[in-house]
Structure formats: C-alpha cells, structure tokens
C-alpha cells in the first residue's frame, strides 16, 4: 500500500480523505481493519501481562511483583483477553472483513451501527485502561467479578464493570448486524445450503451475542449499584444470595466461550477444504452442529459452580447437559479429519495453524470433559488445570484459528503475501512453546495447585518453571510470526485474486477488494462454497 502505482482497493477509495475516511467510514472492510488493529494491539498487551504472570511464578515467593500487583495483573490479563481480544477477535475483525463478501453483499445491514459498535469497543477499551491507571488502582477481582469480594474491594471495579458493559454492547450490536445481514442480504442464488461454514458459525455466534450478552450487562450493573448504593442484592444478610451472582455471571459467560470458539471453528472449516481441495465432509452436519453448540451452550452454565454450594440436583442436571455439548464438537472434529481423506493436501501456513487447532482444541475439549464430570471437577476446579483447559481452548483453539485467519485472509485484504518459510518456522515455535507452557500448567493443576496463586508451596516449583520456560518459547514464536506478517503486509509480493485456490466468493473479487466489493453487477451464486472444480490458484 505504499506505492500508489499498484492497485489498492478499499484502502484508498473513500468518500472522505485521510484519517477521517477511516474514523467515519461505514465500509465493513475499513471497520474490520480498525477492529483488527485494535484487537491485535490488545492481544499483545494482554499477552505481555500473561508473560509477566509466568515470570512471577518462576519461583515460590515474590519474584518480580507483590501479591496485590499479581492479582491485578491476572485480572487485567483476563479482562483484556476475554472482552477485548477473544470475543471480538474473529467475529468483529474477520467477520466484518469477510462475511459480507462471502454472501455476496456490498455491506452489512446497518453500516452506521457497525461503526457505532466499533466506537463502543474503543470506549470500552479506553475505560478499561482508565480502570487500570486511575483512582483505587487496577481491579483485582479476577475476570469473574465474584461477589462479595467484588463489592468490597476498593479497587476500580466500577470502571472495569462499565468497560465490560460497553464491550458487551458493542458485541450485541455486531450480533444484531450479522443476524440481519445473513437473513436479508444474501446474493441471488446464495441459498442456506451454499453458505460458507464461516457464515454459519458467525450466524450461530451472533444469536448467542444477542441473547446472552445482556445478562452480563445487567449483572455488572448490579455489582456497580451494590458498590455505590449498598443494594444488598447479593448480600446474604440482606436477603440476597451470593451464589445467584454466579448463576447470572455464567449464564452469559459460558455461552460466551462458544462465542469465542464457534467463529474459530468456522475459520478452520474454510481453511481445511481449501488446502485439501476437497468439499468439507458432512456440510449439513457441520452447519447444524454449530447451531446445536450455540443452543446447548446456553444450557450448561452452572458447570462452573460445582463447588459453589449449589444444590446437588443442579449438579446432576448441569453435568449431564455439559456432556451433551461435547457431542457437536466431536462431530466437527471427525468431519474435519475426514475431509483430509483422499484430498490433495498442501501444508501452507494457514493449514498448519488449522491442523494444530484440531490438536489443541481436542486437548482442551477433552480436558473440559474431565471438568464436566462432577467428581473429577471437585478436585480440578479452580486449579491451574482449569487455567490449562481454557488456554488450550481459547488460545490453542481460537487463538490458533485467529492466526490461521491472519495467514489466510490478510493477503486478500492487503494484496500482499508474507514469506512462507519464516511463517512455518514461527508456527513450529509457537506450537511447541504453547504446548510446553500449558501442558505443564495442566499437570501442576492435577497435583493440586490452585489458580490465582501468587505464591505456591515448593512441590510445585519444577512444573511452574517448565511452564514459564515454555512461555518464552511461545513469545519468541509469536514475535516472529507478527514480524513476518507485518513485513509481508508492508512489502510482500503482490497477490492476485485467489492465491490459495479457494472457492468462496471473497476470492473472486480483487485483492484488496474495492469499496463496494463487487462492480456494477450484483453477484449471482451458482455453486456451493467448496466446489473446487475449475478453481485455479493464482501464481504469486
């Protein structure tokens, strides 16, 4: 995008020049790019905090920070990673970039609301930063804000809650936009049976965003009211019930983990057929299992509360339902693997991330089964095994899917290709570092090390050191990956329309796509998303 001679698509076409052309743009691609920039920044900030956490845990006792700082650090790490990175990551960034083009639309249904949602995101991010640096100090409640602690601590919980509220609002607006867009703006011939799976998963995600997110909003507002007016809604002495808070919190936050993973699964379902040049195995099973995950995901929230003191009957019900959610995920795994059968497999960087997604997510998900079983969770709850589980699903799962998406779609939107060899090396380092870090964490969790522990008993030292060591490998790999991508976007070789030989619509428009995606004519779709016959990859 530096030389003006080459074609630059939507990067230059704008009704307004300069920075305002971005900040006031209602173009889904520009909004997507703005989201992407913010999200990657947030990821790096959050990840550096994670690195600091690991550094503190390299030895028992105090190493680089005191207990209060540690607590604030993991809280901020969690809030940034959950609300500012992972929930918006694929839907808001890649969803905005790709979804309208994939269904043959010129934009989303409500472009202005799309922009508003970005502003909500940014104000949420600013509030969150404010919460760290002002007044009573960074919040120290953990990202779960459990009462009564969150109503008693003197740190900036109110601001952090408000930030999460704004981010939730942003997420709701994106969800409303996507549901409406998918229903109303599909191009001619784009039947439900021809929707790419990425769209299906975004559709399922969007419904969760719409129907679950308000619950976190009201819950956090109640915490803020409790802190400012002493409302006592969760205070046992005043007729409240602290466990009820946990219900309300997880009613949102469990479905939220499927907001996180579903779009990632969508990315994988795009990448695997493309690099196997074969239709996705079991299209309808994949599409419907996405909806099934979204629906069943709203039935299982209390599996986070087995030890909270809730009734044993609830444990019976929720444990049962938790196992039911695992089934559609299993279906997806099996279908991805079968897609490889008799394909023509190319191990390009996106494919490597996609395949390692399957591996990591299987570990994380199978660990989830141990957590879902009532007896086993009693031992594992709130140990670093849970921390391992969710880093495997969130980072190993969605994080890797996000990296796959970066490697897959960035060339489309920047018009330039990164270097493949460094990309593969970076992938290998990330993969190895990731598994060392979190495998060690899971192991020490099984031995009984509680999470959110600033200090630990000496028996746990070795495994913690392994985990810290792994996190450095991971960080080195990520640094290499980001540098390679950045250089690729700035100065890589120009690519044509379709560098990977993929069959969905976004690969039929120029790279980068022009302002309204399609020329004068609206596209007419005549084939499925994974019919590769006659689709040829451009040389680049």
């Amino acid at each position: 995008m530096s030389e003006s001679t080459t074609y630059t698509g939507f990067w230059q076409e704008s009704p307004r020049p300069g920075i305002l052309g971005w900040l006031l743009s209602t173009d889904h691609k520009r909004i997507g790019i703005m989201y992407l920039a913010c999200i990657v920044t947030m990821f790096i900030v959050g990840a550096c905090l994670g690195l600091a956490l690991r550094l503190e845990l390299i030895a028992p006792g105090r190493t680089i920070m005191d207990a209060q700082t540690y607590n604030a650090t993991f809280t901020v790490h969690g809030i940034i990673m959950i609300f500012l990175f992972i929930i918006p990551s694929v839907p808001a960034a890649f969803g905005n970039l790709v979804l309208p083009i994939q269904i043959g639309a010129r934009d989303v249904s409500f472009p202005k609301i799309n922009l508003l949602s970005w502003y909500c995101y940014v104000s949420g991010a600013i509030l969150a930063v404010f919460a760290i640096f002002s007044g009573g100090g960074a919040p120290d409640t953990g990202w779960t804000f459990y009462v009564p602690f969150s109503t008693q601590t003197t740190t900036n919980v109110n601001l952090a809650g408000l930030a999460a509220f704004m981010l939730g609002f942003s997420s709701i607006l994106t969800g409303i936009n996507f549901v409406t867009t998918i229903h109303r703006l599909r191009a001619e011939g784009m039947t439900w049976g021809r929707l790419p799976l990425f769209v299906w998963t975004l559709y399922a995600t969007a419904w969760i965003q719409v129907l679950a997110t308000p619950m976190i909003g009201i819950t956090l507002v109640l915490v803020i009211l409790e802190r400012t007016f002493g409302a006592g809604l969760f205070d046992a002495a005043r007729g409240g019930d602290p466990i009820l808070f946990q219900h309300l919190f997880w009613i949102y936050s469990h479905p939220a983990v499927y907001i996180m993973i579903l779009p990632g699964m969508g990315v994988i379902s795009e990448v695997i057929p493309t690099f196997a040049r074969k239709p996705l195995f079991g299209y309808w099973a994949m599409a419907l299992s996405s909806l099934a995950i979204a629906f069943a995901g709203s039935l299982v929230w209390a599996h986070h509360m087995y030890t909270s003191g809730m009734s044993d009957f609830a444990i019976l019900v929720f444990s049962f339902l938790t196992f039911i959610v695992a089934i559609p995920s299993a279906i997806k795994i099996f279908n991805w693997v079968s897609t490889l059968y008799k394909g023509s497999i190319q191990l390009a960087p996106p494919m490597l991330y996609a395949l390692s997604f399957i591996f990591n997510f299987a570990i994380g998900g199978l660990g989830g089964l141990a957590l879902g079983a009532a007896a086993a969770d009693i031992h594992l709850h709130d140990t670093t095994f849970v921390v391992g589980h969710f880093h495997y699903t969130m980072f190993g799962g969605l994080g890797f899917a996000f990296f796959a998406a970066l490697h897959y779609w960035l060339p489309k939107f920047t018009g330039r290709m990164y270097q493949h060899k460094p990309a593969v090396i970076a992938w290998a380092i990330v993969f190895v570092g990731f598994n060392i870090t979190y495998m060690a964490m899971q192991a020490v969790g099984i031995q009984g090390m509680p999470r959110r522990y600033y200090d630990y008993v000496p028996e746990f030292t070795t495994l913690n050191q392994v985990a810290t060591f792994g996190s450095w490998i991971l960080a080195a790999g990520l640094l290499m990956m980001f540098v390679n991508l950045w250089l690729g976007c700035r100065a890589g070789d120009p690519v044509g329309k379709n560098p990977w030989g993929a069959a969905t619509l976004e690969w039929e428009v120029p790279s980068p796509p022009p302002l309204e995606n399609f020329g004068e004519e609206d596209p007419v779709v005549t084939r499925g998303p994974y019919e590769f016959k006659g689709v040829v990859a451009d040389e680049y």
Binding site: P148, F149, G282, V337, Y341, L366, A370, A373
Partner: protein
C-alpha cells in the same frame, strides 16, 4: 470401610483415570489419523483430490452415537462417584470451620479452637464450613475435596485420613491479596496421639470455684446469672439481704462467709423463704475444705481476680487470623509486620493527611477497633475491624504487641 484406602481420593481418582484414559485414546487416534492422512495425501503426490464425496449419512450417525455413548458413561461415572463425596459416613467426627480473610479457624465439638485441623487417622471427619467475609474455598488436594465457604450459608465436606501426616489445605476461591497465603494443614494423628491431644488441658482457665460449682452439679439448680431456678441464683451474693426461715421462725441477715458455709454444709437449718427445703447437704467427704473455700470465694467475688488468667495474646493472634496478614518475623506480608512494633514510628494517613506518630497503646487500640481511621502508609485499607474481641482480649493483644 477399609481403613487403608482414602475414600474421597479414591472416588475422584477413579473418574479422573477413566476420563483421562479415554481422552488419551481419542487424542491419539485423532492425531495419528490426521498425520497419516496429511502425509499420505500430500499435494506433491496427489495434485488433485481423488475423491469428491460430500459426506456420508452413516458415518455422521456413527460419530454422533458413539461419542454420545462415551460421554454418557463419563457423566454417570462422574456423578455416582460424586455422591460418594457428599454422603458422609455414620459416626463422622464433626468440626466447624470458619474462613476469614485470610485464615482458618476450626472448632471441635468440645469447644476447643485451632487454626490447623487436627484429626485422628482412620475416622471420617465432617467439616461444616462458613465464612465471615467473602467466598473462600476449603481444598485438600490429598483428599481431592473442595467446597466453597459462603457467607450466610453452611457447606460441608468430609474426608478420612489413612496415614498420619500433615496435608495442605489451600484456599481455592480467589479472596483478595492474601489468597495464596491462606494455607493451613490437616494434622492427621494416630488415634492414641489424637486422644492425648484432645484431653482437656489440666490448668484450666476458669476459677476453681466455678469449676467446683459445675462439677458438683450446683448449677443444675442455681443459675449464676441472676435468673431464678429451683434454688436462688448465686449471682453477686456478696452483701445481699436474705429472708430466712429458721425452724419456723422468720429471720433476716446479710450474706457473708459464715452464712454461706452453713448454707452448704447444713442446708436444712436455714431455708431461704419462698423455696422448698430440698437442697442436699455437702459434708467434707463430698466437698473438701479447700474446694468449699474456693466456692465461697468465688461466690463472694473474691476469687475472680487471681483465677481469671489473662487471655493469651499469641493464641489470639493465631486464632483470629491476624497472622494471616501480619508476620512476626519482620517479613513483608499484606499488613505491616508485628516485629518491633512497640518501638516503631509509623507514617499514617488520616483523612488524607500524612502524619508520623509513635506507636503507643491508644494508637494500637484504634488500629484494632477502627482500622480505617489511621491507615499505615503503603498498605491497602483492608484490615477488618477487630470489634468481635472483648476488651480484655484487646488489652492483651495490645500489651503483647507493645512488647514486640
């Protein structure tokens, strides 16, 4: 129940092994299949795919039904073993646990309190728990048990130690700055050792006279707090007027040592009016002369001074969780260390203004009763007010701290 297996750990481990075992198999299967397919069908060997299948109904059904069956067994096994963690065996010893930021207090059936949990090996123990401030969680990895303590609510766990030893108890629910320091232990003692430990300590804290009153069963008829019973109350007798019936004749006197001695040794002689003459006589065989003296001293209020020992400050610091936040050896914890406290000058913040003051009695009392008034600079304002302590206890603590 076989005393050699750790019942709760067994229940959990069964499930863990079952699920992890299955998971390992599945993971291995999936990974091997993926790697095999990727190598076999690499593009350099197959430039175009050799199949165009879109799916297979039978395969989809297969891998819907199979995982369903697998997860249902996992669920059921997990649930039934969980019940084993909930159903407390008969004859369990009951202990009450109270969690507070950031310490534990255990109370045994006999009223004794400790900050570590002492249990006999081989006997099931049921711990009934609550919290006085925020959520905490009682977690013993060795027994695989874990349960939140919730303010305003009671929860319980049970376990049975099979080997003597010391097992860590962690707080596994995030509860603020001292969360990771909220560690104590189960001290499992062989039954005989436990029995010795559980003996009531001989030098009792209570005045001898009171003990005698209780041992002799006097309190079955006399209250000690002024309320009426079968007999008159023994509350603050010194100097009181009494109307008596002596051999049918009415008589009045004020209570003194002699009167009390007679009232105990020959109760039928003088009857307090309004009461039935039913009190048994206590001769010197039943009640020794010393004991009688002790009782009389107690009843006249003379005994309390020497008999009531001062509360033991170091025990109080332990029991009330002070040491959860303050160290005694100078090391930095959540609150300022107690070491050298008595001879220290501290910088405090009062109403937002800083002030340097010398630590003295008044300051320490204020620090305990209204910790939010003077905040020691550099520490978070999180110390709970120690208003649940009695004046004597506070005095003892302050005196103790001044000597540090």
């Amino acid at each position: 129940m076989n005393p050699n297996i750790n019942p709760t750990a067994q229940a959990v481990d069964n499930v863990l092994i079952y699920i992890f075992g299955f998971s390992l198999l599945l993971l291995l299967g999936i990974t091997v299949a993926t790697i095999y397919l990727v190598i076999k069908y690499r593009r350099s060997k197959y430039p175009e795919p050799t199949s165009e299948v879109h799916g297979s109904f039978w395969l989809e059904t297969l891998w819907t039904v199979l995982p369903t069956l697998i997860v249902l067994t996992m669920f059921w096994y997990g649930w039934t073993n969980y019940l084993g963690l909930r159903n407390v065996p008969e004859g369990a010893m009951e202990v009450k646990a109270t969690a507070r930021m950031w310490s534990w207090q255990f109370e045994y059936p006999d009223g004794r309190k400790t900050s570590k949990l002492f249990v006999p090996v081989g006997q099931p123990v049921k711990v009934t728990m609550t919290s006085v401030d925020v959520l905490h969680n009682f977690f013993i990895p060795a027994f695989r048990i874990k349960r939140d303590t919730v303010p305003g609510m009671e929860t319980y766990v049970w376990f049975q130690a099979t080997e003597p030893g010391s097992y860590d108890i962690f707080c596994a629910e995030y509860c603020g700055t001292g969360h990771s320091a909220m560690i104590t232990s189960v001290e499992a003692l062989p039954p005989e050792e436990y029995a010795t430990w559980a003996q009531p300590q001989p030098p009792s804290a209570e005045p001898r006279g009171l003990i005698v009153l209780q041992e002799q069963g006097c309190t079955g008829c006399h209250s000690l707090d002024g309320s009426d019973g079968i007999g008159p109350s023994l509350y603050q007798l010194s100097g009181q007027q009494r109307k008596l019936l002596v051999a049918g004749q009415s008589k009045e006197l004020s209570i003194d040592e002699d009167y009390l001695r007679r009232a105990i040794r020959e109760p039928e002689a003088e009857i307090v009016s309004g009461y039935d003459p039913i009190m048994p006589a206590y001769d010197s065989d039943t009640l020794s002369e010393e004991d009688l003296q002790a009782v009389i001293d107690y009843l006249l209020g003379k005994a309390t001074v020497p008999a009531a020992p001062k509360p033991d400050a170091s025990v109080l610091l332990q029991e009330n969780g002070c040491l959860g936040c303050h160290s005694q050896d100078g090391s930095e914890m959540v609150g300022p260390t107690f070491k050298g406290l008595g001879s220290r000058e501290v910088v405090i913040e009062r109403d937002g203004k800083e002030e340097r003051i010398k630590v003295d009695r008044d300051y320490l009392l204020r620090a305990l009763k209204q910790p939010k008034v003077d905040l020691v600079k550099g520490y978070p304002p999180i110390m709970p007010a120690a208003d649940y302590l009695s004046t004597e206890e506070l005095d003892a603590i302050v005196e103790h701290l001044l000597k540090q």
